[in-house]
Every structure is written in structure tokens, then in C-alpha cells.
């Protein structure tokens, strides 16, 4: 009797975790993994979604994309936008974190500044886009101040001239994203044991030597994992670019996400858009594998 009860209990214990996980797995399976398979399927069909009985297209849509100069331009813009964003997010985040962590400022000021420095992070991409459009309007405050200071001679159309548009959206994204690094590095800085610095002081180390030989090596794991995540997420940015420039002028700010979106919902070429979406997925998956391996190795 008792033994039977116990084995019943053990069975329950074995099944229970799967029951607890089942709603999540069902949702992730049906609404994430299945759609991923579906989009791969679409990319091999003619008139996917639009027709009930689409015919097999082979690699046609992939060929079309790889022969499209706009695709390669988008890839290049994405790379530029992402690399510049990650590098500057890291640099600004590091500088702000080190400044806030200095024992030369008083604690109240530090707390106030920490709250204010995080501000850009609290705003939605759409709102960030609108704010920067207002700031960088040809008649806006940035132009007016730069002209007063004699840095530019005439009004610059930051978002609507092909020479400046990509730099302008990248700048807006740099402004919007550094707090993630700042917050994580600040937490990391507080975790470095004080004796490291005391030992260095005894040896007569200079400030920059402590930075290079203690602080940065200690923060390296945070720097690498946040950079990877930031890279993956920045690569997928859509609303900021969609609202500031829409990918223009003349494709000068077209990135992979806006390129794919336009293929799908402006030209209704859902098959080709699927092929492009699969390419983005593969790049993301590659980086994700790298990220997971790094996390496990840690």
C-alpha cells in the first residue's frame, strides 16, 4: 500500500515539471518555432501567403536577393550602424560608469546623475525618433546653434540628405542605447574587490595603469556579453530608422529590417521578403550560438 503510494508520488514528481512547462512550451512551439519553419518554407515558394497553392520556387528568391544591389547596401548599412552603435555604446557607457564610480564626487550628486544619465533608455524608439527629428529639423535647434558657433555655414538636412542620413540615425541610436552598458558596467565596477586597487597603490601604480591592468580585465566578461547582445539587438532595429528616414533618401539608410519590411508590405513580395528574413535569422542565430557558447564557457 505504502509502496504503491510512494511510486505514485514519484511518478507525479517526474511528470510535474513537464506539466508546469507545457503552457510555455506550447506557446513557444506554436508561435515561435513553427513560424520559423513556415518562413523558411515561404522562402522556397512562389507567391507565398498570397496564393493558396503556391508552387515550388527553389532558390530563386535567394538569388534575387543576392543579385539586388539594395540588399548589399542594406547589409553594409546594417553593419556600419551596428558596429558604430556598439563601439560608442561601450565607450560612452564605460566613461560614464567610471566617472560615476569615482570617489571624487559626493554620493548625492552621484545618485542624481545616475538617474539622469539613464534617461535615454526610458524612451520608446518611436519617441526617440520623433525627438531627434525635432532636434535635427533644418530649422531646428541643432542647426541654429551650430550656425551661431560658425561650425556649419548653412542649414544641414541631417535626415534627408544622403551624405548625412546614415550618420544621423546612427548618432540617435548611440544616444538611445549607452545606458545598458553604463548600468551593467557600474554594477561590475562595484563588484571589483577593493584590495586589488590597494595592492596596486602600494606598488605605486598610476591611475591609467590601474584602469588597464585591473579595471578593464575585471570587466571583460560583462563587456563581451553585453557587446554581443547589443550587436544582435541593434542589428534588428526597425522603428528608429523607419520613423526618422524610412530607409531613404535613395536607400542611404536602408538596413536589413527596413529592406525586408518594404519587400513584404510595400511591394507584397512575401516570398522574397521571407528569403531576406531567413538571411537575417541565420546571421542572428550564428551570433546567438556564439553568445551561448561564451556564456557556458564563463
Amino acid at each position: 500500500m505504502i509502496r504503491q503510494k510512494r511510486s505514485h508520488h514519484r511518478l507525479k514528481r517526474a511528470v510535474a515539471p513537464y506539466l508546469y512547462l507545457s503552457p510555455s512550451l506550447l506557446i513557444i512551439g506554436l508561435l515561435m518555432l513553427l513560424p520559423m519553419v513556415t518562413v523558411i518554407g515561404y522562402s522556397f515558394q512562389n507567391s507565398a501567403v498570397l496564393r493558396r497553392d503556391p508552387s515550388f520556387a527553389g532558390l530563386k528568391h535567394y538569388q534575387a536577393i543576392f543579385n539586388d544591389p539594395v540588399f548589399w547596401a542594406s547589409l553594409w548599412h546594417t553593419l556600419y550602424f551596428t558596429c558604430m552603435s556598439v563601439v560608442f555604446h561601450m565607450t560612452i557607457g564605460m566613461v560614464f560608469a567610471l566617472m560615476l564610480n569615482s570617489d571624487r564626487i559626493n554620493p548625492t550628486l552621484r545618485n542624481i546623475l545616475r538617474v539622469l544619465y539613464i534617461l535615454p533608455w526610458l524612451f520608446t524608439a518611436v519617441i526617440i525618433a520623433v525627438i531627434w527629428r525635432l532636434l535635427l529639423e533644418p530649422n531646428g535647434v541643432v542647426n541654429s546653434v551650430l550656425m551661431q558657433m560658425g561650425i556649419i555655414g548653412s542649414k544641414v538636412e541631417w535626415f534627408s540628405s544622403p551624405e548625412t542620413a546614415l550618420h544621423a540615425v546612427t548618432f540617435a541610436n548611440i544616444w538611445a542605447g549607452y545606458p545598458l552598458f553604463m548600468v551593467s558596467l557600474l554594477a561590475g565596477l562595484q563588484g571589483i574587490p577593493k584590495d586589488f586597487y590597494e595592492a596596486a597603490d602600494i606598488d605605486g601604480a598610476k591611475a591609467y595603469q590601474k584602469l588597464i591592468f585591473i579595471t578593464i580585465p575585471q570587466l571583460m566578461p560583462i563587456i563581451i556579453s553585453i557587446s554581443l547582445l547589443d550587436f544582435i539587438w541593434t542589428m534588428q532595429v526597425f522603428p528608429l530608422i523607419w520613423i526618422t528616414t524610412g530607409g531613404g533618401p535613395i536607400y542611404s539608410t536602408e538596413v536589413l529590417s527596413t529592406y525586408t519590411y518594404k519587400l513584404a508590405f510595400s511591394s507584397y513580395n512575401l516570398s522574397q521578403a521571407s528569403a531576406s528574413a531567413v538571411v537575417i535569422l541565420l546571421i542572428s542565430l550564428g551570433l546567438t550560438l556564439f553568445y551561448i557558447r561564451y556564456q557556458k564557457a564563463r
Binding site: S24, I28, L31, L134
Partner: protein, 280 residues
């Protein structure tokens, strides 16, 4: 400890404060400009030279938004969808997190890796199959379409956050229930949930923010003005009256209020969620 009074040392302290001030200007000026423009008239926004403080302080932009039922509807939609998704996500994630945190089972490691890697799936990749699904199930332009699709993106984060939180709670608490003959289900609701409130709050805050900020799916899976959320509303405002900058700024301020309030009132929970992805 540190020699404080050499002239060189004082110079460094002064330089640091100047740099802090420059940093503050970089971080906060764009936001200040949004706020101050929302209280200006449209002509004043482009006055030359620009006015730092509104010269003629006016609430006309806010009145135009609060007085327009179409725009109020954007806010209702955003709150409703984000609220519904938050409740669903937290419930489902709590169950999964309990499974991950309190049981050992076959496949645990790979399921955990699966959930971590779903965080990085590009939304644009799922957009096209979602569009196909939503159209074929005839839920295009409905709340259901938004709620279901948001759920997929919020769930992985919520599971990781909740699991992390539950792992910090001692196991003896729920094992005591098992000793008394209670099931794991009883232990969850009687013991775990009441002491997990901080974790639940942090997860809810983060889930709410993810939904509040979502743009791509709201743009594609809804069509009628009455179904649009705040981010799309701001974009529509930009398209319709390209020069009503004060209204756009007022709407941006109103659209940022939930995030600002949560941040100021519950900074701890907010940061717990925002940095969760990177800690895991």
C-alpha cells in the same frame, strides 16, 4: 588615504565635474527639449534664436490630445494590450519558472538553452509568418492578434527573470509542504507565490514595458485607427500634420509617462528587468 589638496588633485576633481556636466547635457538635453517644446506654441518651437524655456507657456498641445477621442483610444489600446499580455505572461512564466527552479528532469538543460536563444530571434523574421497566420485565422486588426504575438516575445524574458528569482528562494520552504503531504501545486500557491512578489513585480514591469514599446507588430497586424497603439499613434500624427510638433511632443511625453513613473517609483524592479537579458 588619498592626498586631496595638491593643486593637481584639485584640477582633476574640477575637470571631472566639468565632464560630468557635459555628460548630463548629452544625456538630458534632448529630453528637456521634448518637454519644453510640448509647452510651446507651434510657432515658438522654431523661433530664432531658439527659446530654452517656453516664452509663452501653453497647455494647448495637451488639450488637443486629451480632447480628441481618437488619440485617447491609442492610449486605451496600449494600456489594455500591455495589461492583458502582462497578466498572461506572468502567470505562464511563473509556472515554467517553478518547473525549472524546483525540479530536475530530462531535457532541462536544452530547454533552458532554447529559451535563452529565443530572446535573440529577430522580430522581422516572425513578422511574415505571423501576418500569414493572423490573416488566415481572421484575427487581423484585433486585440487577440496583438496579445498572442506579444506573448511570444515577452515569455522567454519573463521565464528567465522568474527562474532567476525563484532560484534565490530557499528550497526548504516548499519542501516543508511536501513533507506535510501537500502537492507541488499547493506549495507553489501557498508558499512560493506570496514570497515571490518582488520577482513577480519586476517581471510584470519588464513585460509591460516590452509591450508598451512594441512597434513592428502593431504597425503590421492592425489597420483601423481605433486599433492602433500609442507608438503607431505618434507616427500617424507625424504623417497627418507634419508640422504639429508641439502635439507630437505632448503625445510623446504622455506616452513616456508609464515608463518614467515606474522608473522613478520602482527603480530597483525596473533595473532588475532591464539588465536581466544581459546577466543570464
Amino acid at each position: 588615504m588619498r592626498k586631496r589638496h595638491t593643486p593637481k588633485d584639485r584640477l582633476i576633481t574640477v575637470a571631472l565635474h566639468v565632464a560630468l556636466l557635459a555628460g548630463l547635457f548629452f544625456a538630458a538635453f534632448p529630453i528637456y527639449w521634448m518637454l519644453s517644446s510640448s509647452f510651446k506654441s507651434n510657432t515658438e518651437i522654431f523661433a530664432l534664436p531658439p527659446t530654452i524655456l517656453p516664452k509663452a507657456f501653453t497647455l494647448e498641445a495637451y488639450a488637443a490630445i486629451v480632447g480628441d477621442p481618437v488619440k485617447l483610444r491609442f492610449f486605451f489600446n496600449s494600456y489594455f494590450v500591455a495589461g492583458a499580455v502582462t497578466v498572461l505572461t506572468v502567470l505562464i512564466a511563473l509556472l515554467a519558472a517553478y518547473g525549472f527552479s524546483r525540479f530536475n528532469f530530462r531535457g532541462k538543460g536544452s530547454l533552458n538553452t532554447l529559451i535563452i536563444s529565443t530572446q535573440t530571434i529577430p522580430p522581422i523574421t516572425l513578422l511574415i509568418p505571423f501576418f500569414g497566420l493572423v490573416v488566415s485565422y481572421r484575427i487581423f486588426d484585433t486585440y487577440v492578434a496583438l496579445i498572442l504575438t506579444y506573448l511570444v516575445f515577452t515569455l522567454p524574458y519573463a521565464i528567465l527573470l522568474m527562474t532567476g528569482y525563484l532560484n534565490t528562494l530557499p528550497r526548504d520552504l516548499d519542501e516543508a509542504v511536501a513533507v506535510d503531504g501537500g502537492t507541488s501545486w499547493t506549495a507553489l500557491w501557498r508558499v512560493i507565490v506570496p514570497i515571490s512578489l518582488p520577482g513577480i513585480v519586476a517581471t510584470s514591469v519588464y513585460t509591460f514595458l516590452l509591450c508598451w514599446n512594441e512597434f513592428l507588430f502593431a504597425l503590421t497586424l492592425t489597420k483601423s485607427t481605433s486599433m492602433r497603439t500609442v507608438p503607431i499613434g505618434i507616427q500617424l500624427l507625424m504623417g497627418q500634420h507634419a508640422f504639429e510638433w508641439n502635439q507630437m511632443m505632448a503625445m510623446s511625453v504622455l506616452g513616456s509617462l508609464p515608463l518614467l513613473l515606474i522608473y522613478l517609483l520602482a527603480q530597483r524592479f525596473f533595473l532588475a528587468g532591464m539588465t536581466a537579458g544581459s546577466v543570464k
